[in-house]
Symmetry: C2
Subunit: 182 residues, 2 copies
């Protein structure tokens, strides 16, 4: 990548992070290009779809969460490990309001720029879930996709301003349905 191209890429990503944090997943990409001082076509060259922007924004977060799952798998008791991880996933999603819907859609859409990250995250969560299930600490009739769906639902709830004050209780309620002993 030419150095001017790289500079544009970095600048676009920085501005996108700012604008999307401010205005959510449907923020105007035109506005992002404008604020970045870059032509509209340049944005589309670097990020052919909106999902590609999300992917770039979330990549490091995703990687961290996957590593975190592996770490929790050996360092903590199964039920606490699962709970802690779920909290962190919801927190990441909360920092990117509205993106979660694209992530859910990406689960079974291999064309999406978010697909690979979703599959990896889902697998990481599934491992933590399975471990808890094998110790009879989690509902046995659930798989990684169900877990992903519940996290998505919690994240969506956290995106609703009216429900922010009760986000913690809602987390506890839904978490209790996952960790019910078999």
């Amino acid at each position: 990548m030419r150095s001017d191209a790289k500079k544009n890429y970095e600048q676009l990503l920085a501005v996108a992070r700012e604008v999307i944090t401010e205005q959510g997943a449907n923020a105007s990409l035109r506005d992002v290009a404008r604020r970045a001082g870059v032509g509209l076509g340049t944005l589309y060259r670097h990020f052919p779809t909106r999902e590609a922007v999300f992917e770039a924004l979330l990549r490091t977060g995703f990687d961290d969460l996957t590593a975190r799952a592996t770490e929790l798998e050996t360092s903590t008791v199964p039920d606490e490990a699962l709970l802690t991880w779920l909290r962190e996933v919801v927190a990441l999603a909360h920092r990117h309001s509205g993106v979660i819907a694209s992530m859910v859609a990406a689960i079974d859409d291999p064309e999406s720029a978010l697909h690979a990250s979703c599959v990896t995250m889902k697998a990481a969560g599934a491992r933590l879930l399975k471990r808890a299930q094998s110790k009879k600490l989690a509902r046995p009739d659930m798989d990684g996709v169900d877990l992903f769906a519940l996290v998505a639902a919690l994240s969506w709830l956290g995106d609703q301003p009216a429900l922010v004050p009760r986000a913690e209780r809602l987390f506890d309620i839904i978490a209790s349905s996952i960790l019910k002993k078999s």
Copy 2:
């Protein structure tokens, strides 16, 4: 209302129902006016906001659900009554994909055209919940808003195409967290 105005109103509502069922809550209202063979200003006259369209579309459904809650309150055992009602609310929401987010936002926005309906529905659900709680059949640390939130989350899950196949299990999982005995 003049008879021509009434005719336009009915026509707009019929077309809106069709278009929103097809394309979801963000469907183009311009398109609705076009398909209804009516000027754009006419649509805005009858429905000053998008929420006003939703409200008109959902009104009878809301009324039915409120009546249904009252009926279930005397005819069925508390836990089954609550479950049955939740299923029916989710089903209604599912028939209007995307509208649920507006409903959640309307809970604490008295300006919204959906506010009154939401409050009424929330109260109806809260009565069923309270009855189940008093018989120790439902989680005691929950109120009507929490119930509304969980229904909203389930409806949102039902709006995600990738999750439709597991909608029933997800319902069971979340329902189990409501109906846990104290």
